[in-house]
Each structure stands twice: as structure tokens, then as C-alpha cells.
Homo-oligomer: 281 residues x 2
């Protein structure tokens, strides 16, 4: 899961039509702004790692799915940051898209990124179907975000849809791209999603805004659930470590099973603000 140029190249290729002289220049600029430079690219790296662990040699399908999932993730960030949702002023260490380009272009950037996501996997119907499930209703990120609009939130469904679904799409699409049955990889993805959600909760409460590239304390500000407020720092850290243990156990049999587990644990722990591990040690 180390930095992988092929992912960036695939993302650049996906947005190459922004360089057309016939593209509205502000939209072109805003699309590139929303995707580059990226965050940690955790999802596409996970997908590629699963494909490799499953023995994938030809990586065209895995790269296409990686690209699609990262574009969907970027789209969801741009729309979640809109004033009608979180109204977040910055993201990835710079003004969020609606602040930099206005609300209208932020809406269109999200829309266009969703379209480009499915352009990326057009040649791979099985991967498209996996990714559709992760984005749509009833269990995908659109549904996840929509739970925030309900009078009574179903917390389990909310977190599984808002965070878990896209991670499950990564593990399933990675396996499918390598020619393996994706179904056994669903549970692993949901567990990874839960682990990353807890790690993100820890960052939200304990993180240093400049380090994580977005405002801290957002869950409390928006009345959203956060594992730290439920379990405390130590409880949340213990819960995370327990989850990571289950993640490692849940990896389906494949040639690169052991290395994959180590990679996932390393990346998840790296998300947690360092002082918390020092405090727990």
C-alpha cells in the first residue's frame, strides 16, 4: 500500500478531457483541484493490495476499479463539504471546492466525478456492479449520507453505508479484478471500513488540524456519532486494535494473505495521532 504512481496516472487519465479547449475552464480547474493532490489514497491502495495478494498480474481492471472508487470518494467529499451538509471550509489542507470555486461548481464537480468513475470501469461490468452497490441505495455512500437527513438515524446502517461500503467495494473489486470470487471479501472490507472509521474518529477528536488537512471536532460540531465520545480515548484505541485483529483473521485464503494483513494494520495505525499510542503505551 505504499505510494503508487500507477494510481495517480490512472486518475490523471480519467480527467484528461479537462484539458480539452472545449471544456468550461472553471469546471476543468475545479475537477483537477478536487482530485489532485489527493489524500492518502487509502481506498485505491487497498484495492491494488488485495488484487496483488490474490495473485493479479495484469492490473488494468484493478486500476480501473481503483480509479472509480477514488473518484467516487472525492465526489462524496466535495458534496459532503457543501454548505447544506457539513459546510466544511477546508479539506486536504486547502479551501474546500465550494469555497474555492463556489457552490454551483462544487455540485457539478461531484456529479462529473461520479460519471467519470463509471467511465473508468465501463469495460468491466462485474466491477461496475460492485461499485454501484457501494455508491447507491440501500447500502452505498448516497444512502449513508442520507441517514444524516433522517429524524431517527440507524447508526449501524449509517456507518456501514457511509464508510464501510466503499471499503468493501475495494476488497471485492480487488479480488474480482484478479479473477477471484468477490463475495468472501465483503466482510473483510466492512471490517476495514469500521477500523478506519474508528481511526478517523480518533483523528477528529485528537488530531492536529494542520496535520490531517481538515478541521477537527467536526463530529461534535455536527452532532455525529464518534467512538471516542462513547468509549473515551483508551476505549476507542482498544476497540481499534481489536478490530484490526479481526481484520487480519478475516482475510480470505490467498497467496499474499500474510503481507496484506500487515499492510492494512500499518496503514490503519498510521492514521491515529501518534501521541495517543504514546499515551496508551
Amino acid at each position: 500500500m505504499e505510494t503508487s504512481n500507477p494510481i495517480e496516472k490512472a486518475l490523471q487519465a480519467s480527467l484528461s478531457s479537462t484539458s480539452s479547449p472545449e471544456c468550461p475552464p472553471k469546471l476543468a480547474s475545479a475537477l483537477l483541484y478536487a482530485v489532485f493532490p489527493g489524500g492518502a489514497r487509502i481506498r485505491p491502495k487497498l484495492l491494488m493490495a488485495v488484487a496483488q495478494a490474490c495473485g493479479s498480474k495484469a492490473c488494468e481492471a484493478a486500476l480501473a476499479a481503483s480509479c472509480a472508487i477514488e473518484l467516487l470518494h472525492c465526489a462524496s467529499l466535495v458534496h459532503d463539504d457543501l454548505p447544506c451538509f457539513d459546510g466544511a471550509a477546508y479539506r486536504r489542507g486547502k479551501p474546500s471546492v465550494h469555497v474555492a470555486y463556489g457552490e454551483r461548481l462544487a455540485v457539478l464537480v461531484g456529479d462529473a466525478l461520479i460519471v467519470e468513475a463509471f467511465a473508468a470501469t465501463a469495460a468491466f461490468p462485474q466491477l461496475t456492479r460492485i461499485i454501484v452497490q457501494a455508491a447507491s441505495v440501500p447500502h452505498g455512500i448516497c444512502a449513508g449520507q442520507a441517514w444524516e437527513c433522517e429524524d431517527a438515524m440507524n447508526l449501524v446502517n449509517y456507518q456501514r453505508a457511509k464508510t464501510g461500503a466503499l471499503f468493501a467495494a475495494c476488497t471485492m473489486a480487488g479480488a474480482a479484478a484478479a479473477g477471484c470470487d468477490p463475495k468472501p471479501w465483503h466482510h473483510l472490507g466492512m471490517l476495514i471500513g469500521e477500523a478506519f472509521q474508528v481511526a478517523d474518529d480518533l483523528r477528529d477528536v485528537a488530531g492536529v488540524s494542520g496535520e490531517i488537512g481538515k478541521p477537527t471536532g467536526q463530529d461534535a460540531a455536527h452532532g455525529l456519532p464518534n467512538m471516542v465520545s462513547t468509549l473515551g480515548y483508551d476505549g476507542a484505541l482498544t476497540y481499534l486494535e481489536n478490530l484490526l485483529g479481526r481484520v487480519v483473521e478475516s482475510i480470505p485464503d490467498c497467496p499474499g494473505r500474510e503481507g496484506l494483513g500487515q499492510q492494512i494494520v500499518t496503514v490503519a495505525r498510521a492514521m491515529v495521532p501518534k501521541q495517543l499510542y504514546r499515551g496508551a503505551a
Copy 2:
């Protein structure tokens, strides 16, 4: 292009996951509200008519593409009606989605409909690619809408992208679904799009709000170009008739060429408020 139950059935099937008990209920309701009852369903009817004119027997691919294009069209209406764009209070004779369900759900409805559009054509990579071009940058509806955000609007690119692209996708996908080369059908779709834009301009200026199901005078209110303000009623009507003549001439050779031309002309003329034809006669 008469009312076709298979199109409604395909659209209902596309949104069947809204009936899952695990779907956020407001989002489920808002998705159905945005798609049913529909407008004239002009785009899917055009697509099916082209597929039939090209001799299509098995209509699964044509229905899938019809469904995808209508869902994208609905998504674009929901997002265009948002307060940051047109702020339209009603659509298709009822409160627009953001008025009925709030802005957040309106954003998510558009997002989910885009995803469902590509779910519909997942099995047909060629159709997906045609529809991607009609939705994305540089020439699709996202780009078309984005021209409204530019300081200087390229009017030709704006109208081709905002209206023409989706009509071109209809004619191209209809031909492709019937096993024909889609390229010769692009020009026809763009011409039909232009004709429908002029007919819509006439409705916007001369229409009766209750009859057309949305507010009139919106182009003037938002400073958008309108052919009636450029050419006057008679000039715009003459321009429309001239375009329809070119539409009929431009239909590529196919078994049902003559009937297709008649259908398109009939539907376009039916959009124009009747008193204008009486005045011109």
C-alpha cells in the same frame, strides 16, 4: 414515440432498491418523487423509436440505455433546480425536490440517480461509453451546466452540451442497441436537441405555467439565452420548422426511416404552445 409502459417498468426496476427496509426512508421517497410521475419521457421514447427504426427486436439493451438517459435527465433537473442554480420552486407540476425534501436530499437524489443510470447499462459497455460522453466533460450535461458558471459563456458549446448531448446519446444508443454503428446518428441527435431547445424556448416565453408544469419566463429571469428574444415568435417558429426539415433529412438510412421522421416532427410540434401555431397559420 407513444407512451410506452416498458420504459416506466424499466425505471421502476431501476429504483426497486428504494423499497428495501434498510434504505433511508426519506431518500427512498425523494428518489421516487424525482422520477415518477415523469415528464414527457421524450428522450427514452426517442431512443426506443430509433432502435425500432433500426430494426431492433430484442430491446433489453435499448431499454437499459433509455432508463439510464432518463435517470440522468431527472438527476440534472433536480440539481439544476437547487437554490444555487435556478432555485426553481416547482417542476412537473409539483414542488421541486429541494422544496419538498430539502436541499441535502436533493443533492443526494441527483447523485444516486447518476449512479443508478450507470447501474442500468452496466452490462453494455458500448452504451455506457456513449452515455458517459453525454454526461461528462467536455461535451456532456455537466459541462453544459458549468457554462452557466463561466464569466464568458460559449453559447454554441453551452447548448450543445446542456441539451444536445443527451439527445445525441439517445439516437446513438438507440442505433447501437440495435447493432448499428452509432456514429452516423450523432448529428441527428444534436439537431433534434437544438429543435427541442427552440421548442422549449417557445414554451418558456409563451407557455401557460400550469400546462407545462414549471414556471415560465425562467430564461429571462436567469439571463439565459432564448431564441424567442433573439428572433421573435414568428422567427423562432420558422427556425424550428427549418430545423425539423433538417432533422428529417439527417436520419441515417434504416428500415424505419420515414416513420421515425414523422414521429420526431409530431412530438416537437406538440411541445410548442398551440396558440403560436394558430397565430402563424
